[in-house]
């Protein structure tokens, strides 16, 4: 599904990530940890072809990302749900339309959108904020909305960059529950997070591998997690 082979990424002559080897198999659940600035966000960007590896190879749905056209990347992203750390939205559209945006751009609006949207907005506790514009939302609301937007298309893979960074523990657990249920339905999940408590809570429910980035390399985290 997503595979990195000897992948490396650097800029300005320096190397941020090197010798990255990882295969995200269908239905797997991974956490990615590491200190701030270690390259977790860069790693995720390599996974959804927002950045290209400076050496090595990254394949996305069996296609080498360095050889993918813009249309290929767009098509691949329609099969992925990505929660970005900065939770960017279209500020001129109400929240409900922002959450439905992946369906809109994929030409899957209408009945499918109506059905998924109301259920999902209820799930993330944003039903009452459907008509609010993104600048009116709190940080936590933006993160919940970003997660809802990432899963609305029922994607094969969900990549989330610090999805619980600005929300309370109770809501974090609810969102985790949603991701665990999606994983049980066969979705592949990769979450980059600092939140060790969240990882422990997940491991109590699902078989998750925990990876750590340190010194620009990917390692399997210790059993203490």
């Amino acid at each position: 599904m997503i595979e990195l082979q000897d992948a490396a990424y650097g800029y300005g002559g320096g190397s941020l990530l090197s010798d990255i080897n990882l295969r995200l198999a269908p239905g797997s659940f991974h956490f990615l940890t590491g200190p701030s600035g270690a390259g977790k966000t860069t790693f995720l960007k390599l996974c959804y072809a927002d950045l290209h590896a400076t050496s090595g190879r990254v394949t996305l749905f069996d296609q080498d990302t360095s050889e993918m056209s813009r249309d290929d990347v767009a098509q691949a992203r329609q099969r992925m749900g990505v929660v970005h750390q900065d939770c960017e939205f279209l500020d001129h559209l109400p929240l409900s339309e922002n959450i439905a945006l992946p369906l809109t751009v994929a030409g899957r609006g209408g009945a499918e959108q109506d059905g998924n949207l109301s259920e999902l907005m209820g799930w993330v506790g944003l039903s009452a904020r459907a008509d609010a514009l993104p600048p009116e939302l709190s940080g936590g609301e933006r993160q919940r909305a970003a997660l809802a937007r990432a899963v609305i298309t029922d994607p094969d893979v969900i990549l989330a960059d610090e999805p619980t960074g600005n929300i309370d523990w109770e809501m974090s657990l609810r969102l985790l529950q949603l991701l665990v249920e999606l994983n049980r339905m066969g979705k592949t999940i990769l979450i980059a997070t600092h939140d060790l408590a969240l990882i422990r809570a997940a491991k109590a429910q699902v078989s998750a591998r925990v990876l750590r980035i340190a010194g620009g390399r990917l390692q399997l985290a210790g059993a203490d997690l």
């Binding site: 813009r70 767009a74 098509q75 960017e88 279209l90 001129h92 339309e97 992946p102 751009v105 994929a106």
Partner: protein
Amino acid sequence: MSALSGLLDILKGDAQADRVVPRRGHSVRLTLFTSGAMAFLAVFALALSLASGRLADRWSEALARSSTIRISAPAAQMEAQIWAVLEVLEQTPGVASARALSEEEQRDLLEPWFGPDLPLEDLPVPRLVEVIETAEGYDPDGLRLRLAAEAPGAVLDDHTRWRRPLVRAAERLRSLGWISLALILGSVAAMVTLAAQSALAANVKVIRVLRLVGARDHYIARAFVRRFTLRALTGATVGTALGMIAIALLPSAQEEGGFLTGLGFAGLHWLWPLTVPILSAITAFWATRAAAFKTLRSLP
């Protein structure tokens, strides 16, 4: 996205896709105003071109088939010379008809320069004979020789001298009208390109978000193309309507008014301005499409 399907998409529309690009921005007013103003000017350029075309045809046809014989003679000989000229003309092959202008007609011809109370009978004004040719025409050199023999005061003016530059001027004017139209459409394309580039640059964040959720560049470009095409169409429709009203309010064509009062549309020519909004929309479609794809290619 082929051009045809792109245009059909524009007409069909997609309410949801349209909303992904913010409607605000100075490019809205800029596009509407400029396409309206350009359409207004285009209507005048079209009117100029069509009117000068009609004029060129009219002058060309009318002057080609007529000529004038000017007779200068003492008053006592004038009538005899007129009769002599008419007799010569009657026997000349290629002359369809000939007649001497009456004093009233000559007074009418001179009135614009000398006023209505011209004492024509007291002035040594030459008499004029109007000659209408057949389609084959006559031999002007032969006629001049015969006139010199039969009526020494008669001078043939076959209009060739001043007909050619007039017709050439009218044809140039018609060409200038078409060139103006092309320049106006070029200006619309340039303006729409600049406005579209400005709108795309102001919406880099929107483009980034759309790409991250899986939007193809065609989808993003279409949202901008549709918006600018419809704005250009709206502006040009208003500009064309105002231009046509202004043309309709011009004084109607009259003989004594000459060229200026003939500036306008006649008959089916009134349908021509209706192509201006369509041409503006097509121009805006292509200009925005090119600008959008160029900008999208340049964004990471």
